[in-house]
């Protein structure tokens, strides 16, 4: 019988970090499962909420922007589908981002009592976000079928944008997750950021409206612009406006921030237990 020998000393956890993370994939799944099954306990609609919210938001946005403000959709694209596709990817990003930011605090009882790589907690929030995404994506497919506007071959690129969005929520979320351990201000800040993001990102309108304006080049620096436009282009085809240049900003900003956040998270995670 092989007995494993461990030497606990300063810097121990950092040395075995990635190995420990891989050894704990089962825990990752179980934490995600917990979050999913707990969320809609004692609710009447249960998982129905996952589709009800984006659906209702889409109806309101279509009414406000298309009927009242009379904004134009991209040529050949039904306005409701444009909004719904934007909301689908935005909800995925913003929910995951918000969950990742509170993940450490939410699991504080575990932080103080058991050891495992702390990165598991934000990662399990990402898994939860992905599951929600698959459900809302099903809603999109159903409505697109009803509109007889099936996705084109561009859909092959879809996973790329989903992964990019996932990386973005992790990149920004991890940073706030660390801050949140010491400063509970984050809990106030996140809903506010998400609310602002909903309007400055091209969700209920098309970013083609900004073309040629002086601020357009700054607008595309927002990494979410490239992700949302690209996602839409995958689903709605060539009719949807997508400026490939905005994708460069997305990839560069998201990758840099992700590397920084993971580094920062790893550096700080050993002190979580002392500050939480």
């Amino acid at each position: 019988m092989g007995v494993q020998e461990t030497k606990i000393e300063a810097g121990y956890a950092a040395k075995n970090y990635w190995r420990d993370l891989l050894n704990n994939t089962e825990l990752l799944v179980i934490l995600a499962k917990r979050d999913i099954s707990v969320r809609y306990k004692q609710t009447f609609l249960g998982m129905g909420w996952v589709v009800l919210r984006p659906f209702a938001t889409t109806m309101v946005m279509v009414f406000v922007f298309s009927y009242i403000a009379k904004l134009k959709s991209d040529p050949g694209v039904p306005y409701p589908l444009m909004v719904l596709s934007g909301i689908t990817i935005w909800t995925f990003f913003s929910n995951t981002f918000a969950q990742v930011s509170v993940s450490i605090l939410y699991n504080s009882n575990l932080v103080t009592k058991v050891y495992f790589p702390r990165l598991l907690m934000p990662l399990s929030s990402v898994v939860v976000g992905l599951v929600d995404f698959l459900v809302t994506f099903g809603l999109y497919i159903a409505i697109a079928t009803w509109y007889q506007h099936p996705p084109t071959a561009n859909i092959l690129y879809l996973p790329l944008f989903v992964i990019l969005s996932l990386m973005a929520s992790l990149a920004f979320g991890l940073f706030f997750a660390v801050i949140n351990v010491r400063f509970r201000d984050v809990a106030q800040l996140i809903p506010f950021l998400v609310q602002i993001g909903f309007y400055i990102c091209p969700i209920a309108y098309s970013s083609s409206l900004g073309q040629g304006e002086w601020w357009y080049k700054y607008y595309t620096l927002n990494p979410l612009v490239g992700i949302i436009d690209g996602f839409r282009w995958c689903l709605l085809g060539e009719g949807a406006y997508f400026n490939p240049n905005s994708l460069i900003a997305s990839v560069v900003v998201v990758s840099l921030f992700l590397v920084f956040s993971v580094y920062y998270f790893k550096r700080e995670e050993r002190s979580f237990v002392d500050h939480i």
Partner: protein, 418 residues
């Protein structure tokens, strides 16, 4: 075979005096303080950081199959050691070599989610404690059986009684099958029968070659379970050896009488942002010139503290502990609002009430009847000596209380003999 070898293990914490409670600082306060600190370098006293060694140069080794009891006052470093062994925090210097899988139970039912059912929580908690899914499946029936919750498997644990909750939590941990099991003060909860079951289970584990580390304030439990003990004080390992030997010397060292503690100014007094302790004193009403406390002596406890917040609704909760760690009684005051300034309280402890033995007193200051602002632990400790008149029995009088109750015996009926 040695399963745990610790070499020169130390753990340092930095206490930032300016920021006594990091938790309560918001972002604005931190930024303003940083800016203030930047301009005001002369204000060195305020920003002083103090090093605190929770453990200092600890060496020990533990053999396979040992059941080690760890004793020591609060803040002696016991919990820090367990946290290092459980990898929750890392040592500042030194190393501990551990051979085998460690399972630590610093709390019963870690990560239990109240909304999930007993069944779901077994899998969740098992995974959190480091069990594989197949292992949990294999032991599932034994766990349920041990905890005695088969009827409630599909009920959310929020509807469990506290006893069921604890039983389930312990049952999962007991079936972890680790080579080394670390247990912190978990038997304090649960009823007597279950405690017995747990102790029995722990002994079984040890007999099958598992090593157990057990921290408890309950010396009776330690003596019942452990064959060896370690005694920590102020971050250092004072003694290691046979349980009875270590426990006796722990008791003799700690049972010093401390009847009075006072603090001059709020800045140096124990407490938090809202309250600071000013004085705690136990004043015996001596019956004779001998000036010792015996079972007849009545006592008056004085407690004073500074209240820093106007209109705070405060009350006190006092625990009196026997030296075995068991709580003899708990009394609370009513809750009322106080202005800033000194708040005082007195408690009369009558004579002919406590049995002879060693006792300690802890006082909690509670806000809004729910938030513990500060817990002044074991602030007072004292011995009560025996006093007997008209009894011809000299063995130790059992029990924690020694009331002078009116217990009469009389002839109720006389049998009539023809």
């Amino acid at each position: 075979m040695q399963v745990i070898t610790a070499e020169n293990v130390s753990k340092k914490y930095i206490i930032d005096h300016k920021r006594k409670s990091v938790k309560n600082l918001d972002l604005k306060q931190t930024i303003t303080q940083k800016i203030k600190g930047f301009w005001d370098k002369s204000d060195g006293e305020n920003t002083e950081k103090e090093e605190f060694w929770a453990l200092k140069g600890v060496d020990f080794s533990i053999n396979q199959g040992d059941r080690i009891g760890i004793v020591g006052h609060n803040g002696a470093g016991k919990s820090t050691l367990l946290k290092i062994l459980s990898k929750i925090t890392e040592p500042t210097t030194g190393s501990i070599t551990v051979r085998g899988r460690v399972a630590s139970l610093l709390e019963v039912g870690t990560g239990f989610h109240p909304e999930l059912t007993g069944r779901e929580n077994i899998f969740l908690n098992g995974a959190i404690l480091g069990m594989r899914k197949e292992e949990i499946r294999k032991h599932f029936d034994t766990i349920v059986d041990f905890a005695g919750v088969e009827k409630f498997l599909d009920t959310p644990v929020k509807r469990y009684s506290s006893g069921m909750y604890v039983r389930l939590g312990f049952a999962i941990a007991a079936h972890l099958n680790p080579e080394i099991l670390i247990i912190d003060e978990v038997l304090a909860v649960g009823d007597a029968e279950f405690q017995k079951k747990c102790l029995g289970n722990m002994r079984e584990l040890a007999d099958s070659g598992r090593t157990i580390l057990f921290v408890s304030h309950n010396l009776t439990a330690i003596q019942a379970l452990c064959n060896k003990a370690m005694y920590f004080e102020k971050g250092q390992l004072l003694m290691q050896g046979e349980t009875n030997h270590v426990v006796t010397s722990y008791l003799s060292r700690v049972s010093k009488t401390a009847l009075k503690q006072t603090w001059e100014a709020p800045a140096t007094a124990p407490g938090g942002d809202q309250v600071r302790v000013k004085r705690i004193e136990l004043e015996p009403q001596y019956k004779d010139a001998l000036q010792h406390i015996d079972i007849r002596t009545s006592m008056k406890l004085h407690f004073e503290f500074w209240n820093m917040e106007d209109g705070a609704k405060l009350n006190l909760s006092l625990h009196l502990f026997a030296f075995t760690g068991e709580c003899v009684f708990n009394v609370g005051t009513s809750s009322r609002a106080f202005e800033q300034g000194v708040v005082a309280a007195t408690l009369d402890i009558p004579g002919h009430f406590l049995n002879d033995g060693s006792y300690s007193i802890s006082v909690m200051i509670v806000k809004d009847t729910s938030t513990v602002l500060y817990n002044l632990e074991e602030a007072i400790s004292f011995d009560i000596e025996d006093h007997r008149v008209g009894v011809t029995w000299y063995d130790k009088w059992p029990g924690y209380v020694r009331p002078n109750l009116n217990f009469e015996i009389y002839q109720a009926e006389i049998a009539v003999n023809d």
